[in-house]
C-alpha cells in the first residue's frame, strides 16, 4: 500500500496553497502523544491516510447499500410491469432516506420476557460482521483498497461465519416460538452453505495461489485473463451457494411469510429492524464483491494497462484508479442484478428441498470441482503450459486456451456425478417421476346430456 512517494505527497504537491495550510492546522489538532512517537511521514501513512480512505469507503459503500434497496424495488417493479417508487424526491431517489427516517421514527419494541442485552446485541453483531469485511475488499489499484492483509479471503470467510451468530441470537432473544424456528432454520441453512462457499474458494485458490485480495487481482492482471474461464463450474456453485448464504431469493425460507410469520426478525421493529435489513444488504454487496474479485478479475479489465500506457505520466495513476474502481462497481452491480432478478422470478424452496440442494448437490459439486481443477493444474504443469515464477503464474496463450477448455469441459463429469448421487431422490428428478408433465390436459368432448364416459 505504501508508494515510494506517499500518496499524500502527490496530493500536496499538486494542491493549492490554502490546502497546505489546512493540512498543517489539521496536523496540529492530532493528539500530542500520537504524533510524538512517530515520524511525520509515518503519521501521514498510518493514521491520516487510512482515515481518509475509510471515510470515503464508508460514504460510498453505505450509499451503495442504501440505493441497493431502491434498486431492488425499481428492478422488481420493472419485472412486474409496474413503476417502482418515484414519489420521494426526483425519480424516487430519496426513497432510501425516507425508509431510513421512517424506521428511525418507528417505536422500538422489546418483547416482554426477551433477554434485553442479547436482543440489542444480535443486530449489532450481524451488522458489524457485514461491515468489517469492507476493509479488505480491493476497490481499485494501489491505494483504492484500505488494507491488503495477506490472508484476506480467510479473514472474510471467518468474519462471515461469525455473522451467523447475529441471526441465532436474534431469534433466540425474542423468546417466542416462531422466531426461534426461523432462527434455527436460517442458521442451519447458512452454516451448510458456508461450507459449500469455502470449498469453491479452495478450488479458486489453485490459480490465485494467494489469499490476499489484491494478490488475486494481480494474478489475474499478470495473466491478462479472468479466472471465470478457468473455473466456470465453481463460479456457478459459488453463485448459488452465495445466494443461499445471504438468505435471499428462492432460499429466503427464514422469513417466508406464508409459514413462519416473519422468521427471526418478527419481534424486531424500528431502528433494530433496519440494522438487520442493512446487514442483509451489506452482506449481499460484500458477497458479490468477493465473487467479482475471485472470478471476474476485481478491478482489472484486460485493456486497462494498454490505455494507461497511452496517457501522460502524471495522470497514469489517477486514470488507472478511476478505471479500476468503475470496473469493480460494474461487476458488483452485475452480480447484484442477478440476485434481484432471481428473487422476483423463482418461487420459494421448501426447507427440506433447500437442505437437500445444499448437501446433496452443491457440496459434492464443490468437492468434485476441487479434485478436477487440481488434476487439470497438475496436467497443465507437466505439459509445461504454466510456470510459477516467484509465486505468480505465467502462462502463454496455449496454456490459457488449454485451461479454459478444461474448465468448461469439467462441467460434464461434475453433472454426471451429481446425477449419480441424486438418481433416486424423489423431489428433484421430476422428469423420471412424472412420465409426461401434461401441459395440455386430455380434453374431453362431451356432448351435452349424453352419459359421461
Amino acid at each position: 500500500m505504501m508508494m515510494t512517494q506517499g500518496p499524500w505527497m502527490l496530493a500536496l504537491s499538486a494542491s493549492p496553497k490554502w490546502l497546505e495550510s489546512l493540512v498543517e492546522r489539521l496536523f496540529a489538532y492530532l493528539p500530542a502523544w500520537l504524533t510524538s512517537s512517530l515520524a511525520p511521514t509515518e503519521v501521514a501513512d498510518f493514521i491520516v491516510w487510512p482515515l481518509i480512505q475509510i471515510g470515503v469507503m464508508l460514504v460510498v459503500v453505505l450509499t451503495a447499500v442504501a440505493y441497493l434497496t431502491l434498486a431492488e424495488r425499481k428492478v422488481s417493479a420493472w419485472i412486474q410491469v409496474r413503476v417502482g417508487p418515484n414519489r420521494t424526491g426526483p425519480l424516487g431517489l430519496l426513497q432510501p432516506a425516507a425508509d431510513g427516517i421512517k424506521l428511525l421514527i418507528k417505536e422500538d419494541v422489546i418483547p416482554f420476557k426477551a433477554d434485553k442485552t442479547v436482543f440489542t446485541l444480535a443486530p449489532i453483531i450481524s451488522m458489524v460482521c457485514a461491515f468489517i469485511v469492507l476493509a479488505v475488499l480491493p476497490y481499485g489499484p494501489h491505494y483504492a483498497s484500505i488494507t491488503n492483509i495477506n490472508i484476506g479471503l480467510l479473514f472474510i470467510l471467518s468474519v462471515s461465519s461469525v455473522g451467523v451468530l447475529g441471526i441465532i441470537l436474534g431469534g433466540w432473544a425474542s423468546n417466542s416460538k416462531y422466531p426461534l424456528l426461523g432462527a434455527l432454520r436460517s442458521s442451519a441453512q447458512m452454516v451448510s452453505y458456508e461450507a459449500a462457499i469455502g470449498l469453491t474458494i479452495v478450488s479458486a485458490l489453485i490459480f490465485t495461489r494467494t489469499f490476499s485480495m489484491q494478490g488475486i487481482v494481480e494474478a489475474q492482471r499478470s495473466l491478462g485473463i479472468w479466472f471465470v474461464l478457468f473455473l466456470f463450474p465453481s463460479f456457478i456453485v459459488f453463485l448459488i451457494s452465495v445466494v443461499a448464504e445471504t438468505n435471499r431469493a428462492p432460499f429466503d425460507l427464514a422469513e417466508a411469510e406464508s409459514e413462519l410469520v416473519g422468521g427471526f426478525h418478527t419481534e424486531y421493529s424500528g431502528f433494530r429492524f433496519s440494522i438487520f435489513f442493512i446487514a442483509e444488504y451489506a452482506n449481499m454487496v460484500v458477497v458479490s464483491a468477493i465473487g467479482a474479485t475471485l472470478y471476474l478479475g476485481g478491478w482489472y479489465v484486460p485493456g486497462m494497462d494498454w490505455v494507461a500506457a497511452r496517457l501522460p505520466e502524471a495522470y497514469r495513476e489517477a486514470a488507472l484508479t478511476l478505471m479500476g474502481v468503475t470496473a469493480f462497481a460494474i461487476k458488483c452491480g452485475a452480480i447484484l442484478y442477478l440476485f434481484i432478478w432471481m428473487r422476483w422470478t423463482f418461487p420459494r424452496y421448501r426447507y427440506d428441498q433447500l437442505m437437500e440442494l445444499g448437501w446433496k448437490w452443491l457440496m459434492p459439486a464443490a468437492l468434485a470441482n476441487i479434485a478436477l481443477t487440481a488434476t487439470i493444474f497438475i496436467v497443465g504443469k507437466e505439459l509445461g503450459l504454466v510456470r510459477s515464477a516467484g509465486g505468480v503464474l505465467q502462462m502463454d496463450w496455449q496454456g490459457k486456451l488449454f485451461f479454459t477448455l478444461a474448465g468448461l469441459l469439467s462441467m460434464f463429469p461434475i453433472l454426471a456425478l451429481l446425477n449419480a448421487i441424486n438418481r433416486n431422490s424423489k423431489s428433484f428428478n421430476l422428469r423420471a417421476q412424472r412420465t409426461t408433465i401434461p401441459v395440455s390436459t386430455r380434453k374431453v368432448k362431451l356432448s351435452p346430456g349424453v352419459k359421461a364416459a
Binding site: 410491469v81 410469520v261 420459494r348 421430476l430 408433465i437 401441459v439 380434453k443
Partner: protein
Amino acid sequence: MNAIPLVTHHTETLFDSEQMVLSMGPQHPSTHGVLRVILKLDGERVVDLDCDIGYLHRGAEKIFENRLYPMIAPYFDRLDYIAAVSNGLLYVETVEKAMGLEVPPRAQYLRVILTELNRLSSHLLWLATHALDIGGFTVFLYAFREREEILKIFENFFGARLTCHAFRIGGMTYDAYPEFEAQVRAFCDLFPKRLEEYETLLNENRIWLGRTVGIGIISAEDAISLGLTGAPLRGSGVDYDVRKTDPYECYADLEFDIPIGENGDTFDRYLVRMEEMRQSRRIIMQALDRLPDGPVMGKVPKVIRVPAGEVYHSIEGPKGELGLYLVSDGGTKPYRLRMRPASFVNLGALRKMAVGSLVSDVVAVIGSLDIVLGEIDR
C-alpha cells in the same frame, strides 16, 4: 380422530414435546380469509389437521326464510364474494326453474358471457394467491393486472367490481352498454398472450414443480366419495362438469371442452384451471358471436310466488358445483333455501390431502383447493 384441544401453547422447549400444536390462526397470511387450521406437528411433518371454520357465519339460510324472493338475490353476491355473478345466476335460475319462467335468449347469452368472465376473474385471483403462497410474487402481480381488465368491464356493466348484481328473476335489469362487446372482444384477444406469460414463468420452473408435483395427491375414488367438485375432482381424472352433464342457460349449443388431469396432485389442479381459463375465453368468443338482440327481461308477475314443491338446481361455479335446494310452500318467501357450497365440501378433503406432508405443503394444498370463506361459512 378425536377433537384436538383448541389452544395448547404449553411447550417452552422445542425438544421435549413429541408433538407441537401449531395453530395457523384466522388471520394467517396464507389462509384465504378467516380459516383457522390446527396442525399437530411432529417436527416438520403434519400428524393431524383440523379446520376451525365459522368465523364468517352470517346465518344466511335463516335470513332467506324471512325475505321475499326478489330481496334474497343481493345476499348471494356476498356469499362467494369472488364469484358473485355466478352465485347470482344460481339463485335466479333456481327460482326460474321452480316457476318455469322463460328467459329471453339475449339475456341467456349475456348471462353466460358474464358468468364466464367472472370465472376468469376468480381463476386469476386463485392463480395470484396460489403463486404468492409458494413465493412467486411476480405471477401475483401479472394475474391481478389481467383481473383488473375484467373488473373494469364489470364496473361498466354492473356498477360494482366485486358484489355485482344485474340478474333478476326472469332475465336481467339492464341491457349491455354500447361498448360492452368491443371491450370484451379486446380482452379476449389480449388474454391468450398473457396466459402464455404465466405458463412460461411457472410450467417449466423447477422450483414450482418441486413445490407442487406430488403434493396433496387424491385418487379419483377418494375424490368422488369426498364429494369434491370442480377443478379438484377433474384434477384426479373424473369427467364431471355441470355445464356439460346438466346444461343450463345456453351452454347446450356452445362448443367447449373439459380439461382432465391424471395424478390428482396440486400441479394437475393448476393445469386444469389454466386450461379452464382458455375454455372460458372460447365460450365467451362463441357467445359474443351468437349474441341475439331482443328484450333482456322476460314476463314476470309483479308478486313472485313460487308454486309449492321443491327443486334442486346446480351450476358449475369457479370453485366447483354450486347447488341450491329450494322448498317452497307456494308463499312469497321460500320455506327452506339450502345452498350447497363447493369450497365447504372441498375443504373437507384438506385433511385427507395434507396429513403426512410438511407445513409448507399444507399452504400449497389450501391454495390449490381455491376456497373462499364467505361461501364456506354462509
